[in-house]
């Protein structure tokens, strides 16, 4: 890793930054097609009911209304919004385009298609619906207890699993047993652009979808199969989006919008308001994890037993997999002799849970890291010392998958981070006695690099050289705003030894681009980046072969740099990439273009340790994060500026997760905060300065040693903040978010106990 790179490891702005600062980039919400119609949804105001009557006649009579659809005139066929590939397991087909039975406040009841947004909105308001209310099951506990009311015909328990790994040691006297219960809540992804979809069905019977999505091929497989179109007749184009964070991973609006375009044979755009996006798209799942560990007096984890209940909301979406992957995380972080995990996925009459940054890792890591502090407290052991005894070491095997954790540098993150943060001084400071109490907290976290080990994992790219020596890299990538296109371009540029401005990297398009699973699972840099690396290597080999032919020297006698190739020792005798490409085409009938599929065969851990200092106002219960340090084992930062941005953004989201953010659902299933007025997203004054420490040790199969960052950046944050609050107050709060109310309660309880 000593080699100095020209492009890798240097900061570049996101590829479309100059369009973004001009306001000239067209996001999906900006795109207008001629002849375009506007769709508007009618969402259920109540959480559980049968629709007994719908009268759309008034809406249909409104001038400008083209069509009105309900469950009565749409297919009764069901689909899964989560499916990425055909025949995928655990993709329950439990959703309809428009429902005859509403299962949450926000379920889709009807849709109007009109010539303008205003008309569509007016029409929605005059649709009359009669409901026959059913008992509302607003929590997993209620849904599991309920004997009669079923949210779906199969029952309210959607999925259940249990497994055990390793040997249970004989009970010894010298162990302490600690049990904690951590609740994490539903949150809104809060991407700044709300959800939108645009579809067209043309006279050649072809469907085109402009999708602000994380996986065009996933969208295609769902939509094409639903509408019974062959895949060559469905084109899904990835278009610019204002953030995602997992909120656009599943195929939410596309099946309906595609259906509408096909029925009307005109372009149809369906745009959601912020409120509709909050309640009717997807949320991070709410979870409860009960963790029980048996720990030796010396501080070694002997047994860990976890039970997780995940609230799927009203439809299955990705919740089965989400629950299951939660059992795959803890053993990536700690060495544990005996591990068991059981889980339940439960339907409730609440907004649908789905993919969200970190996919189960933030939820379970929050639980385990709050737990680890409690164990250390009962052992009377230093928080860091205790963790150091149990953290995984480089090249340990992941107990749950039997795959190597690779060059897992979490111990470095902890030790170096603690030093840089001044942990021991801050942690051991005298307890404040006044109104404002300071505290420090830390949390370790593990995540992954792609899907190898449980799912197919590969990526394909085509790299072609133009006549002038510039390149086009055609990919199935999705830029979500994280700098994917830039970092992939840097990797190819480094290999080809050419300024990145001469490489155009294209985003996903099912018709013109190669296949890729999509941007999730922390796979983009590690897997797609490796694909870019390899395809660029192949192309370079080919262009050197061409140069060798032109220069009449074997390849091993050639040197190259900055888009030129020459005979070693004779730099005068050189040829430019432009001349190579042109001569190859004209004289040698050779086109320099290669399509390459990279198959991932490893899945190391990505690690982070975060340190937070907070100040709690004991009079109001308000918490301020006053200082923050994030240490990350990233292998190699391809684009350090964007990496820092990912971490800072992750911290911002995580502080919100720890302290304020929650989609609150009443007992009757109503959504209590469906607007940014009462759903608090961290703003600039709330945000601390985030200091960053990158551990760049490479050692794995990612391009130039790089590992994932976008998801892991969010994973440890909530636990670090919660642990800091508990440290400040001497409490053991584990019920997120730590609202002022909960903090005052905990303080009240403590006084009482004293």
């Amino acid at each position: 890793m000593d080699k100095d790179f020209k492009y890798v490891g240097h900061t570049f702005p996101i590829h479309d930054a100059s369009q973004k600062v001009r306001g000239s980039l067209e996001y999906l919400s900006d795109i207008k097609l001629s002849d375009m119609l506007y769709a508007k949804l009618l969402l259920s105001p109540i959480a559980h009911a049968l629709i007994t009557r719908i009268d759309t006649s008034k809406a249909e009579a409104l001038p400008g209304v083209m069509r009105v659809f309900t469950h009565l005139n749409t297919p009764s066929k069901t689909y899964s919004r989560y499916r990425i590939i055909p025949n995928q397991e655990f993709c329950l087909e439990d959703e309809r385009l428009l429902t005859d039975k509403v299962r949450f406040a926000g379920d889709r009841v009807a849709v109007v298609v009109a010539t303008s947004k205003e008309i569509a909105k007016q029409a929605i308001q005059i649709i009359q619906v009669e409901y026959k209310a059913l008992p509302v099951l607003s929590t997993p506990e209620k849904a599991l207890q309920e004997q009669v009311t079923r949210i779906h015909p199969e029952g309210n328990l959607l999925y259940e699993y249990e497994y055990k790994l390793g040997e249970q040691l004989p009970v010894t006297e010298d162990c302490v047993v600690v049990e904690t219960v951590t609740n994490t809540q539903k949150v809104h992804h809060a991407a700044m652009e709300t959800h939108v979809c645009l579809a067209d069905f043309d006279s050649s019977e072809k469907l085109t979808l402009w999708a602000a999505c994380q996986g065009v091929f996933g969208v295609r497989t769902i939509v094409a199969d639903f509408l019974e179109l062959s895949y060559n007749k469905v084109r899904v184009i990835k278009v610019p989006m204002g953030g995602s964070f997992g909120g656009r991973q599943e195929t939410i609006l596309e099946p309906l919008t595609a259906f509408l375009a096909k029925e009307l044979r005109r372009p149809v755009k369906l745009s959601l308001t912020r409120e509709e996006t909050i309640i009717s798209t997807m949320t991070r799942p709410a979870t409860t994890s009960r963790i029980r560990t048996k720990v030796t007096k010396e501080g070694f984890l002997a047994e860990c037993s976890v039970n997780t209940v995940l609230d799927a909301g009203a439809y299955a979406s990705s919740s089965i997999d989400n629950t299951y992957v939660m059992s795959k995380k803890i053993c990536k972080l700690y060495r544990i002799s005996y591990y068991e995990h059981s889980g339940k996925t439960v339907y409730t009459n609440t907004p649908v849970a789905g993919g969200a940054r970190g996919w189960g890792a933030p939820e379970i890591m929050t639980a385990i890291e709050i737990h680890m502090d409690e164990v250390a407290k009962s052992l009377g052991m230093d928080f860091i010392e205790f963790r150091l005894k149990n953290l995984v070491h480089p090249y340990d095997l992941d107990k749950t998958s039997q795959i190597s954790l690779g060059n897992a540098r979490v111990i470095d993150c902890l030790e170096k981070g603690a030093k840089a943060f001044g942990w021991s001084k801050r942690f051991k400071r005298e307890t404040d006695q006044g109104r404002f109490r300071r505290g420090a907290g830390l949390a370790c976290a593990a995540h992954k690099n792609g899907m190898y080990g449980g799912f197919p994992e590969h990526s394909t790219m085509t790299l072609k050289m133009n006549e002038d020596g510039s390149f086009i890299l055609n990919t199935g990538l999705h830029e979500l705003g994280c700098g994917t296109i830039t970092s992939i371009t840097q990797i190819a540029a480094e290999v080809l030894d050419i300024d990145p401005k001469y490489i155009s990297t294209l985003e996903a398009d099912t018709e013109y681009g190669p296949y890729d699973f999509g941007s999730y699972g922390s796979r983009v840099t590690y897997i797609c980046g490796a694909c870019a690396f390899e395809v660029a290597k192949c192309v370079k080999e080919k262009l050197l072969e061409c140069a060798s032919q032109i220069l009449q020297r074997p390849i091993q006698y050639l040197d190259h740099k900055d888009g030129r190739v020459w005979v070693s020792g004779d730099e005068q005798h050189s040829i430019s990439y432009r001349d190579i490409a042109t001569t190859a085409k004209i004289k040698h009938n050779t086109d320099i273009v290669i399509t390459h599929t990279y198959h991932g065969t490893s899945n190391p851990g990505a690690y982070a340790v975060h340190f937070a200092e907070v100040e709690v106002d004991t009079a109001t219960g308000k918490v301020r994060v006053t200082d923050y340090l994030a240490a990350h084992d990233i292998g190699k930062a391809i684009n350090p500026g964007m990496v820092e941005g990912q971490i800072q953004g992750g911290v911002q989201m995580g502080i919100g997760y720890a302290l304020y953010e929650e989609i609150k659902v009443g007992n009757d299933g109503s959504i209590l905060n469906s607007s940014l007025k009462n759903y608090h997203v961290l703003n600039a004054p709330d945000m601390p300065e985030v200091n960053i420490l990158l551990i760049e040790q490479g050692g794995d199969e990612g391009p130039y040693g790089a590992k994932s960052i976008g998801e892991i950046a969010f994973v440890p944050v909530a636990a670090a903040v919660v642990n800091a609050v508990n440290n400040a107050l001497g409490t053991s709060i584990s019920n997120m978010p730590l609202t002022p109310e909960k903090i005052l309660n905990a303080l009240g309880g403590k006084k009482h106990a004293n």
């Binding site: 306001g23 700044m192 705003g481 800072q648 911290v651 007025k677 997203v681 600039a684």
Partner: protein, 157 residues
């Protein structure tokens, strides 16, 4: 109703619905798509424009309120094909990710710099307090604004 107003230095005289919001007027009628909408209720700042020297949420401004006013949108920051220093600074500081908040952020920053060419970090944070960004954690945005060389911050003159 008939209203006269100025956008990015250009006079407009239009017949509009009195209930139309400024954000729609800019985006739909004038094709200025740089102004974004993220909430429609004054909570996110994606729709920020400068009206008579002040940053305002254009989703909360109705047609009658813009009569005779001078409005600047993100499209005005670039002058003669040249990005402003503020825009350059956002690019160079990696302060742009998905970019959806960026136009609003830039307009709030511009409005601040027009009255205060040496803002402190705290003043910057206050000025952009109404602009939500979900991607960056604000650190780099604050840095980008602070780094702008102090110069002529007048706009559209």
């Amino acid at each position: 109703m008939q209203i006269e107003f100025k956008v990015n230095g250009k006079e407009h005289n239009m017949n509009v619905q009195p209930t139309i919001r400024l954000v729609d007027l800019l985006r739909e009628e004038l094709g200025l798509i740089g102004t974004k909408e993220g909430c429609g209720e004054g909570e996110c700042g994606s729709c920020t424009v400068i009206m008579n020297g002040k940053a305002v949420n254009s989703c909360l401004v109705l047609a009658p309120q813009i009569r005779g006013q001078e409005i600047f949108t993100i499209e005005a920051l670039e002058q003669d094909g040249q990005l402003s220093k503020l825009q350059e600074s956002f690019i160079n500081n990696s302060a742009v990710q998905c970019g959806y908040c960026t136009p609003g952020m830039l307009m709030s920053a511009k409005a601040l710099l027009m009255v205060n060419s040496h803002p402190s970090a705290k003043e910057i944070k206050t000025a952009i307090a109404g602009n939500l960004c979900r991607c960056t954690g604000y650190n780099k945005i604050v840095q980008a604004i602070q780094e702008v060389a102090v110069g002529d911050q007048k706009l559209g003159t």
